[in-house]
Amino acid sequence: MGVDLALEGPAGASGLLAGDAAGDQRGNLPGDLQAAKKRSSLPWRQPLAIVGMVVVLAWIVVAIFAPLIAPSDPLAQDFVQLKAPSAEHWLGTDELGRDVLSRIIYGARVSLPLAVLLVLGAMIFGTILGSLAGFFGGWVDAVGMRLADIVFAFPGIILAMAVAAALGPELLNAVLAVIVVSWPAYARLVRGLVLSARGSQYVIASRLLGASPLRALVVDIRPNVLGPILVMASLDVGNAVLLLSGLSFLGLGAQPPTAEWGAMVAAGAQNFDKWWIGLFPGLAILTVVLAFNFIGDSLRDALDPRTAKALRD
């Protein structure tokens, strides 16, 4: 795994993922994945995964029904500014007298859809580039993978900062910046999977029967690539939430008065002696990211033949 891991590592947050991607390239074909799935305990039987799913579902419900749940308008300013948690404002009010609880509830409508959007964006872009690189090889492969290497050579948030700064501080630009930072991990994984599937008998057979390269890629190879990609994407949502809220915390993402969790923590940093302003939005981020990591970790354990082997012995 050494060289692969070392090269793929610089994604920082996705270092562990990249390690797994290398493992997948080494011979963990989808067939093995299926077998591993049967061998070890199923992810939904694991308590942590259940906790994770419940928390994620709860946040989705909160996001959908925000106007019904929130006690007040997230943008409504009150005369009682910086008020500690009380019966009236459960989680207190911020520097403009806005209800912190309502803002957190509405914040779910910002962070969750955007996190899914940017994981999808990175996945689609990375998958297209990775499959073209893996299937056609040659200069397509060389150019695509060197591009991925360059992005990997930047630490995530610094490249995202540079992109967000260059495009202008705005939430959608921050999303774009995070996509720019996170597609290479997908490209690497897909390339490896396509590369190993390309040489298999059934693809060669299909090409001999006259299938076009595109048809072989879409019809014959895609089903074998889709599973690992989806696993990786579900693992990535947590990282996406962290990166995006980090950019907003730095003032390069959501702009006031949008109720976004990272920006709310930044407001808490401005008034650090009023602990409730920063504490609760941060807890919201933590619960979402933790929930996705619970799910992802269980999925990985269930699908990774290496840990599965150790568990069997």
Partner: protein, 363 residues
Amino acid sequence: MSSAEKRTTTTTAAVPVSRKRARHGDLWKFLGKRLGIGVLLVFGVMLVSFLLTQRVPGDPAAANLGQQAIEDPAAVAAFRAKYGLDKPLPVQFLTYVWNVLHGDLGLSQQSHRPVSTDLAEYVPATFELAIFAIVLSLLIGVTFGVLAAVTRDRWPDQVLRVVSLGGVSMPTFWIALMAFYLLFFKWGILPGGGRLDPTQTPPDHITGMYTVDALLHGQWSLFGSALYHLVLPGLVLATYTIGLLLRFTRASVLEILGNDYVRAARAKGLPERVVVMRHVLRPALVSIITVAGVAFGSLLSGAVLVESIFSWPGLGAYAYLSAINLDLPAIMGVSLVVAVVYIGLNLLVDVLYGVIDPRIRLS
């Protein structure tokens, strides 16, 4: 695994009598190739950061020269000529590369000093913080990672699993704020910011890392103070890498525990402690150190968020200020430095790995 085994057997069969010499040749070829890729990557990073800054509106000459000079056409022309701004884009890029190779990273628009001077001042502060954090992460992460692996599926493992997942799920900027509030503002146990107390003067510059410089000068109380100031930002910065290393250590120790030679060691009657310390931890450490090298790079990212809260005058705080002020030469300088460190670390890790494990450089 089977492909790796196959690879080893074929290579041993293919390497004939002059095995030793062949290996040395391979090693040099491997090193040269890696170095070449590294140089290409640095070049690529420069290209990307150069292109990014082209997107930003505004006249660099106006931003750099200030009000008086902008009214002097000769000064503007001289500035444009120096940085090649009057030439087409590819020439501008080559001028930029040329200037960088000669140590000229341009002028920072916030500090009105050369970016290289700024960086020389801020880089050691971040390195000191990151080194402190990685040492802390290794100590805590590896110890508890081994504990989790040997108690797998029992309660210590379950608890550590939640703890490590918590570590990697925690928003760094949030834990920084909370630690600042509790440990500094509320309880006053630890200093809340800066590298030394305001009354203290930094040690004479040798490395720029206060703890190291103070030690080299034998200034013990200054060393103590610098170390004391490191604790809070260092701990916060380490939360993520502790979680990461804990999880990785657990996984790699578990992987090795499944090997036949471990079973043989146990069958031989060795106490479990010896089996784990000698036969499991040692091979595991190789890959753990690799991940630690990569994690060190991620600490540089984390520094952006941590330094701005603890007013730590380092690369991260500088990057943040450059980004919000659209100080392009500074942003490019920071990206370049961080990317070079990243690429250098990966190169080092690759080389270490190649030296330790011949299979990798042969493949």
